[in-house]
C-alpha cells in the first residue's frame, strides 16, 4: 500500500467574485510525480499555493501525510519547511550569494549549525550541477542556472514534497533542458513532486499521474499513456492536441 | 475662552497672514520658472561656460539652507548698501531657491524626452531653436507637472521661513497674536490646521490639473 504524501479534498478558492478552484480533490503517493496541465488561468498555480498555504483555500482540507495543513492549529511555518516550492520567476534572494540562498533556510528556519548547513548546501548545489557557482550572485546567472539554484534551495530543506509552479515558463528555450534534466533526475531518485507545466515531453516521460484542469475543476486524470493516447474526455483530447502542436510532444 | 472660540476669534487676523503666504508662494514660483527654465536649457544645450555657470548656481543654492539664503538677502545685503523689505527679500529668497530646484526638474523632464524624437525633428529640417520650441518645450511642460506640483507645495510650506526675516505672513501673525494672549501652543495648532487645509486644497487642484494635462500613455 503506497504511502500517501499529499491528499487534497474539495478545495475551493475565490478571488473577489472569480471562483478559481471549484472542488478539487486528488492525492499524491510517495515517490510519484504528478503533472498538472491545463489552459492558463484555470487555477493551477493557485492550487499549488493553496497546498503550502501561501494562498489559503476558502474551503476544503489538505493533508501532508498525517498532518492536516489546513487545520487552524497547525504550525504553518513547520509545514512549509517540509514542502519545497520552485517558482516560475525563481525568486532567488538577490542580495545573497548562491550558497547563502541555499543555506539561509537551514540556518534561520531549521537552526542547523553553520558547518553542517554549508555541507548540505554544497551537496545540493553539486547535485544540480552548480558547485562551481557558489559565490556568484543571482543577477550574474542565466535563467536556467537561477532556477537550478532555486531547486537546490528547496532540496536543502529535505522536503517530503516539492511543488513546481511552471518552472520553465520564464526560461529561454535553450535553457529549459537543463532544468528539466534536473527535475527528471529528481523524480527518478524518488522525490515526490507536483508539477504545473506545459512541457508535454517531460509529462509524458516522467509523470506517474497527469491531471487535466480547466475552469477550476479536474476534467480528467490518469496515467500518461492513457491521457495522451486514449483520453476519455474530448476537452482533454482537444487541449493535448493544441499544446503538443505548440510545445512539441515526445517523439514516438 | 475655549479652543474653538479662540480659533474663531483669531481666524481673520490669521487669514491676513495667509494672504501674504499665498502671495509669496505665487510670486516665488513664477520667479522660479522665469529663472529655472533658462537655467535648465543652459545645462542641457549650453556650451561649457554656460553649463558651468548654471551648474554652479544650481549646486550652490541646492547645497545651502534656504534660511541662510534669506539671512544673506535680508541681513547681509545692507552691508553693501542694498536694503530689501522683508517681503521683497522673502520673495527673492524663495524665488531664487525655487529656481534652482525647478531647473533640475525641468532638466530631468527635457532629458527624459527620447533622443529619437530630436533626430526625427532634425531630419525633417528643423534647426535647434525650432526643435526646442516645437518638440522639446511642449513635452517638457507636461512631463514636469508632477515634480513641479511637488515644488509648488514645498514653496507653500517653506514660505513659513519668511517669518524668520519678519515678513508679515501667517507665522508672524500667529506670533503676534500669541504675544498678546500667551496661548502660543493653541494658536500654532490653528496655524498648522490652516496649512493642512491650504496644502490639501492645493494638492487637489494640482491633481486635477495633472490628470488633464498628462500625456496619454506615459
Amino acid at each position: 500500500m503506497p504511502n500517501v504524501i499529499l491528499r487534497a479534498e474539495n478545495i475551493y478558492k475565490k478571488y473577489g467574485n472569480l471562483e478559481v478552484l471549484k472542488g478539487i480533490s486528488f492525492r499524491v503517493n510517495q515517490g510519484e510525480t504528478t503533472v498538472i496541465i491545463g489552459p492558463s488561468g484555470t487555477g493551477k498555480s493557485t492550487l499549488l499555493t493553496c497546498i503550502n498555504q501561501l494562498t489559503p483555500p476558502d474551503k476544503g482540507h489538505i493533508w501532508l501525510e498525517d498532518t492536516e495543513i489546513t487545520h487552524p492549529d497547525t504550525d504553518i511555518n513547520l509545514i512549509r519547511s517540509s514542502i519545497g516550492m520552485v517558482f516560475q520567476h525563481f525568486n532567488l534572494f538577490t542580495h545573497l550569494s548562491v550558497l547563502d540562498n541555499v543555506r539561509i533556510g537551514l540556518l534561520v528556519v531549521k537552526k542547523i549549525p553553520m558547518s553542517e548547513a554549508t555541507k548540505i548546501s554544497m551537496e545540493k548545489l553539486n547535485d544540480v550541477g552548480l558547485g562551481d557557482k557558489v559565490n556568484a550572485y543571482p543577477a550574474e546567472l542565466s535563467g536556467g542556472q537561477q532556477q537550478r539554484v532555486s531547486i537546490a534551495r528547496a532540496l536543502a530543506m529535505k522536503p517530503k514534497l516539492i511543488l513546481f509552479d511552471e518552472p520553465t515558463s520564464a526560461l529561454d528555450p535553450e535553457l529549459i533542458g537543463e532544468v528539466l534534466n534536473v527535475m527528471t533526475k529528481l523524480a527518478e531518485s524518488g522525490m515526490t513532486m507536483v508539477v504545473v507545466s506545459h512541457e508535454m515531453g517531460f509529462a509524458r516521460a516522467v509523470a506517474n499521474d497527469i491531471i487535466f484542469m480547466e475552469n477550476g475543476v479536474i476534467v480528467e486524470e490518469g496515467k500518461p499513456d492513457k491521457m495522451f493516447i486514449q483520453s476519455e474526455n474530448p476537452r482533454t483530447k482537444e487541449f493535448l492536441h493544441k499544446i503538443t502542436e505548440l510545445y512539441g510532444g515526445k517523439k514516438e | 475662552m475655549n479652543f474653538l472660540a479662540l480659533a474663531w476669534n483669531i481666524l481673520p487676523k490669521l487669514m491676513e497672514g495667509a494672504v501674504i503666504t499665498i502671495q509669496l508662494t505665487i510670486i516665488a514660483i513664477i520667479i522660479g520658472i522665469i529663472i529655472g527654465i533658462p537655467t535648465a536649457l543652459g545645462r542641457v544645450y549650453g556650451n561649457k561656460v554656460v553649463y558651468t555657470v548654471c551648474s554652479f548656481f544650481v549646486e550652490i543654492i541646492r547645497g545651502t539652507p534656504l534660511l541662510t539664503q534669506l539671512f544673506i538677502l535680508y541681513f547681509g545685503l545692507p552691508s553693501v548698501g542694498i536694503m530689501l523689505s522683508p517681503f521683497t527679500a522673502a520673495m527673492f529668497g524663495l524665488g531664487i531657491n525655487s529656481a534652482a530646484y525647478q531647473a533640475e526638474y525641468f532638466r530631468g523632464a527635457i532629458q527624459s524626452i527620447k533622443k529619437e524624437q530630436l533626430i526625427a525633428a532634425y531630419s525633417i529640417g528643423m534647426n535647434q531653436m525650432q526643435t526646442i520650441r516645437h518638440i522639446v518645450l511642449p513635452q517638457m511642460f507636461r512631463l514636469v507637472i508632477p515634480s513641479w506640483s511637488n515644488e509648488l507645495i514645498y514653496l507653500l510650506k517653506y514660505s513659513s521661513m519668511a517669518y524668520m526675516i519678519q515678513a508679515p505672513e501667517i507665522m508672524s501673525q500667529g506670533r503676534l497674536i500669541a504675544s498678546r494672549n500667551f496661548r502660543t501652543f493653541e494658536v500654532f495648532i490653528i496655524v498648522a490646521l490652516i496649512y493642512l487645509v491650504l496644502v490639501s486644497i492645493l494638492s487637489k487642484i494640482l491633481d486635477i490639473m495633472e490628470n488633464k494635462f498628462r500625456i496619454p500613455g506615459l
Binding site: S81, M85, F87, G105, V108 | I72, F185, A192, Y195, S203
Partner: protein
C-alpha cells in the same frame, strides 16, 4: 581685512555651531530612520485599521505642516502640556518625526519595488513574517533606499538651521551671535556659514555614494510608483 579677522576670531564658535548642527542631523535622521522603518513596514504589511487610523494621518500631518510650525508646536507644546523638555529635545522630536514621515515613503517604495516574489520564496521555505522581513526584505530594501536617502540627508542637514527659531545654538545662530557681537559684516559671516553647510552636504553625499557603490545589488533600482496623487507624493 578687519572682516576676515572677525571670521577668524569667530571660528571657535562657528566650529561649536557646526558640531551642534552635525549632532542635530544625526538625531533627526536617527529618529526618522527608526520610526520610518516601523511606519513603512506598517504601511506594507500592517492591517488596514492601523494604516488608516494611525499611519496615514501621522504621515499626512507631518508632511503637510511646515517644519517651522512643527518646531513651534513641540517647543510651545512642551510647556503647554507641562512636559518641559529643552528646545534641543523639542527640535529632535519635531524634526525627527517629520523625517520619519518622509523616510517611511522611501522605505515603502523600496520594499514594494522588491516584489512579492521574495516574500513568497521566504515564506515557502518556512520563514515566519519576522524572519522574512529581517533576513530577506529589509536587507534588500535598505540597499535600494540609499540614493533617495541621500536626498533626505541633505534636506535634514539644511533644515537643522530651523532649530535657530527655537533657540538651539547651531551654526546659523552662532553666526548671528558673531554678527551681533562684533557688528561684523553680516554678508560675509552668513556666506561663510552657507559655505560650511555646503561642505557638510557635499561630504555626506560622497560618503553615501561610496556606500551605495559598495552595497549595490546588480540590476536593481527603485521603481517610482506610477500615478500617485499629489497628496501622496509630498
Amino acid at each position: 581685512m578687519e572682516q576676515i579677522n572677525i571670521i577668524w576670531q569667530g571660528l571657535p564658535s562657528l566650529l561649536s555651531g557646526t558640531v551642534t548642527t552635525i549632532i542635530l542631523t544625526i538625531y533627526f535622521l536617527g529618529l526618522g530612520f527608526v520610526m520610518g522603518i516601523i511606519l513603512a513596514l506598517g504601511r506594507v504589511y500592517g492591517s488596514r485599521i492601523i494604516n488608516y487610523i494611525i499611519i496615514r494621518p501621522f504621515e499626512r500631518f507631518f508632511r503637510a505642516v511646515p517644519a517651522l510650525v512643527l518646531l513651534f508646536l513641540f517647543y510651545f507644546g512642551s510647556s503647554f502640556f507641562n512636559l518641559n523638555f529643552s528646545p534641543f529635545v523639542a527640535a529632535i522630536l519635531a524634526m525627527g518625526l517629520r523625517s520619519a514621515a518622509y523616510q517611511s515613503e522611501i522605505f515603502r517604495g523600496a520594499i514594494q519595488s522588491i516584489g512579492d516574489g521574495q516574500m513568497k520564496a521566504a515564506r515557502s521555505i518556512g520563514m515566519n513574517m519576522f524572519q522574512s522581513i529581517r533576513y530577506i526584505i529589509l536587507p534588500q530594501a535598505l540597499r535600494l533606499s540609499i540614493p533617495p536617502w541621500a536626498n533626505e540627508y541633505a534636506v535634514v542637514l539644511k533644515d537643522t538651521s530651523l532649530a535657530y527659531a527655537v533657540g538651539v545654538t547651531e551654526l546659523l545662530r552662532q553666526g548671528r551671535y558673531i554678527v551681533a557681537r562684533t557688528f561684523g559684516n553680516a554678508l560675509l559671516v552668513y556666506t561663510f556659514c552657507a559655505l560650511i553647510y555646503f561642505i557638510l552636504v557635499f561630504i555626506g553625499n560622497q560618503i553615501l555614494k561610496k556606500l551605495e557603490k559598495k552595497y549595490k545589488i546588480p540590476g536593481h533600482e527603485i521603481q517610482a510608483p506610477k500615478q500617485q496623487s499629489v497628496l501622496e507624493r509630498i
